[in-house]
């Protein structure tokens, strides 16, 4: 926890008033530090987040666990004006109490609960005692994780995703404060582990939320130990040292720093629209990030060296319902399985911390079920690869053994068509793919109706066929879901890369001024599009062939069994 505050003080006096006090005694340290931090910030930056703004609502919300109605909010605001001073005292007392209590309280609750004391109010107060905001980064991540490999608390990830999508061309992003009550309500939602939909909120609310989160972190993201070394590195513009220091950061801090800097850089790069350059962006965010302006601009300027391979990709949460929507590709399944397992261990963690309620238990079973299904599917996939060969030799006598060749060929074709086209014009091709798949699906349904009408075949054939078609439809639905996820991902990518390009290049020249390069690309694109259509057609044909063959196999098997 020690670092040479005098040194740092020189660089940015006033910023770390907190740390000085922090050294006095270790007990009161965190609280004092935080309060002082607010006081220091208040003068320096955004007027929207006065420290005492959060106390009245916090006190109120400890009892009832509904969102504040509009009336309540107004009352609160009035309260604040009239009783500012007494409330502040109250808050301090309350805070102290809260700090002592949490652990005991949880244990008590756990005991009380037994089998069915699942009172939502209890859970609510438990959440209040184990919040996501205002705790060390690592703990916050544990309570509010992303279930992919990014160790960034979900709240920050959501905010960054949102701003990357909607805020890269907005004047004064991060400078304009959001409506305080809405920020507060979002904070409470995150603290209570509710699922939050940020799209219902304004950009300013989201940026204020992120700032609020950062401000409430008890320690700087660069860690108290390394902060002064980072400052030194910035002072001497020593990139190698900075790289080394970044690698020394704990995983959560490293990821958080990376994401924040890359995100902020993309805003600064769009200065033309955001009106935020390094200096005034630094003014807004340095106090929150607890770093000097110099260090901030160093990190932003050298972003490409320091965080060379960092790409912000949108968070896709684990799937919440089983069966037809599960992916069917091996890779997608493995990724999903990893997410689900992370989610499962998160649920266990929360339950072990005392958050036991009906919904949590149901979630536990649901997630467990998805994991089981994914594992089964993966196993089947692996076994199929082995079995296909065996089965082939087994029933070769009865059917011509071409079916699996066709199968693999189709898979290859599909891959090729996706790769070749999507590489060139990703978004367009994927959207059209999705459309095609749904077309394909409907045509297959048509086919089913057709075959039903020529009912000179056996009933059995029809039954098998419809079975196959149903499973095909399920598969296609999977694909649609997957493609949708992919579209999401690419759109974020586009948001982070494309808009910058657009802003810099395209917006400056009229769009119809296409260069020679462009027209060449365009014709290539057209050709690829044509190729893709052909491939899709052949896929469809081959699918039909596979379907027939599968039915034949089933019939043959049936005969085989009855013969035995």
């Amino acid at each position: 926890m020690d670092f040479d505050s005098p040194d740092v003080e020189k660089d940015f006096p006033g910023l770390y008033a907190s740390t000085e006090i922090g050294h006095k005694d270790s007990d009161g340290k965190r609280k004092e530090k935080k309060d002082r931090g607010y006081a220091a910030l208040e003068g320096e930056s955004s007027p929207e987040e006065e420290p005492d703004a959060k106390s009245p609502s916090k006190i109120k919300k400890i009892k009832p666990f509904k969102f504040p109605t509009k009336k309540e909010k107004h009352e609160k605001l009035k309260d604040k004006d009239s009783k500012d001073i007494p409330k502040e005292k109250k808050k301090d007392g309350e805070k102290d109490k809260k700090k002592d209590k949490p652990k005991n309280k949880i244990k008590e609750k756990k005991k009380q609960k037994g089998s069915d004391g699942k009172d939502p109010v209890d859970i609510g107060s438990l959440y209040e005692n184990q919040p996501v905001f205002g705790v060390p980064l690592e703990i916050s991540f544990e309570r509010n994780p992303c279930h992919d490999d990014i160790h960034l608390p979900l709240v920050m990830r959501n905010c960054i995703d949102y701003v990357q999508m909607h805020g890269l061309c907005t004047d004064g992003v991060y400078k304009v404060p959001g409506v305080k009550s809405k920020v507060q309500s979002l904070k409470i939602q995150y603290n209570r582990r509710q699922s939050v939909n940020l799209t219902d909120y304004d950009l300013a609310v989201v940026t204020s939320l992120l700032k609020q989160y950062l401000r409430e972190l008890p320690d700087p993201i660069l860690t108290p130990d390394l902060l002064s070394k980072f400052e030194d590195a910035a002072e001497t513009q020593n990139i190698e040292l900075a790289k080394l220091l970044i690698s020394e950061l704990p995983l959560c801090n490293k990821h958080t720093l990376t994401w924040l800097i890359v995100h902020f850089t993309s805003i600064i790069e769009n200065e033309k629209y955001t009106k935020m350059n390094t200096t005034n962006f630094g003014c807004v965010l340095c106090p929150v990030l607890q770093m000097s302006q110099k260090l901030f601009s160093f990190l932003v300027m050298k972003k490409n060296n320091l965080f060379s391979c960092a790409i912000l990709h949108k968070y896709i949460p684990p799937l919440r319902c089983a069966s037809p929507y599960l992916p069917s590709g091996k890779e997608e399944m493995t990724i999903e399985l990893k997410k689900q397992e992370s989610l499962l261990s998160y649920i266990h963690r929360e339950m072990n911390a005392g958050f036991v309620c009906k919904t949590k238990e149901e979630e536990l079973w649901d997630v467990q079920r998805i994991i089981t299904q994914l594992k089964r599917k993966l196993k089947v996939l692996e076994k199929d690869n082995h079995k296909v060969l065996k089965e082939k030799s087994k029933i070769e006598d009865q059917i011509n053994g071409k079916f699996d060749e066709v199968g693999t060929q189709t898979a290859l074709n599909r891959k090729n068509s996706n790769n070749s086209v999507s590489g060139k014009a990703e978004v367009v091709s994927i959207t059209s793919d999705t459309v095609n798949i749904s077309n394909c699906e409907s045509s297959l349904v048509d086919e089913e109706i057709q075959t039903t009408s020529d009912s000179d075949n056996e009933e059995l054939v029809l039954q098998y066929e419809s079975e196959e078609l149903m499973s095909l439809i399920a598969n296609l639905k999977d694909y649609i879901v997957q493609e949708k996820c992919e579209i999401d991902r690419l759109q974020t990518k586009l948001a982070s890369v494309g808009i910058i390009v657009n802003a810099r290049e395209y917006f400056m020249y009229p769009i119809d001024e296409t260069t020679v390069d462009n027209s060449a690309l365009f014709s290539e694109y057209k050709m690829l599009q044509f190729q893709k259509m052909n491939l899709l057609k052949s896929i469809e044909e081959e699918r039909e062939a596979i379907l027939d063959l599968k039915i034949q196999i089933k019939l043959a098997k049936r005969k085989h069994i009855s013969a035995m």
């Binding site: 037994g114 089998s115 089983a322 649920i347 266990h348 339950m351 072990n352 036991v356 238990e361 149901e362 536990l364 079973w365 649901d366 467990q368 079920r369 994991i371 089981t372 594992k375």
Partner: protein, 201 residues
């Protein structure tokens, strides 16, 4: 599916417990998919859902297949708490597994805090009669002591597999009905329980 959307069928939550390798997963998979898996692969936890017709009524059964190994005991409580009925499985060819049913029973009673929780003692691997180590008498008397039914199954031959799940679901259903009725349910519960006791086939 299209027609029955209006009413969600009742959902009964069953948990499989017992030490490692006694055939909890084998029983579950046989019940779920009519398949018998020869190769042993320890379970961590798996969950399944199936629609079945129980005495003419469509219901859903959620089965949670837990780990037999002690390594996963830490997460067991979270699962046990949410279970409505338990199949406590041992292998009739392995005395240790029979002994450890005591511990499982205790753990369940501790977590659920309820003596009358729907519970079946299940002796699996009934097809391996030549390797039997736990006598029918022994198992029956333990079941009697606990006031629960005892059933012998074979996941391999599918003997009594449906029976254990359906019997347990009936108990859970009865239990739920009594819970709705209220306080006078408990006395009845015991009477009904005696009838069900020691169902050996």
């Amino acid at each position: 599916m299209k027609k029955n959307n209006a009413q969600q069928p009742a959902l009964h939550k069953v948990i499989m417990v017992g030490s490692g390798g006694v055939g909890k997963s084998a029983l579950t998979l046989q019940f779920m998919y009519d398949e018998f898996v020869e190769d042993y692969e320890p379970t961590k936890a798996d969950s399944y859902r199936k629609k079945v017709v129980l005495d003419g009524e469509e219901v859903q059964i959620d089965i949670l297949d837990t780990a037999g190994q002690e390594d996963y005991a830490a997460i067991r409580d979270n699962y046990f708490r949410s279970g409505e009925g338990f199949l406590c499985v041992f292998s009739i060819t392995e005395d240790d597994s029979f002994q450890s049913t005591m511990e499982f029973r205790e753990q369940i009673l501790r977590v659920k805090n309820d003596e009358n929780i729907p519970f079946l003692l299940v002796g699996n691997k009934g097809d391996l009669t030549d390797k039997r180590k736990v006598s029918l008498n022994e198992a029956q008397s333990r079941a009697q002591e606990w006031g629960v039914p005892y059933v012998e199954t074979s996941a391999k031959t599918r003997d009594n597999v449906d029976k254990v799940f359906f019997d347990l679901m009936r108990e859970i259903r009865a239990r739920k009905k009594e819970d709705v009725k209220g306080a006078n349910g408990k006395g009845k519960d015991k009477g009904r329980r005696k009838k069900l006791k020691c169902n050996i086939v």
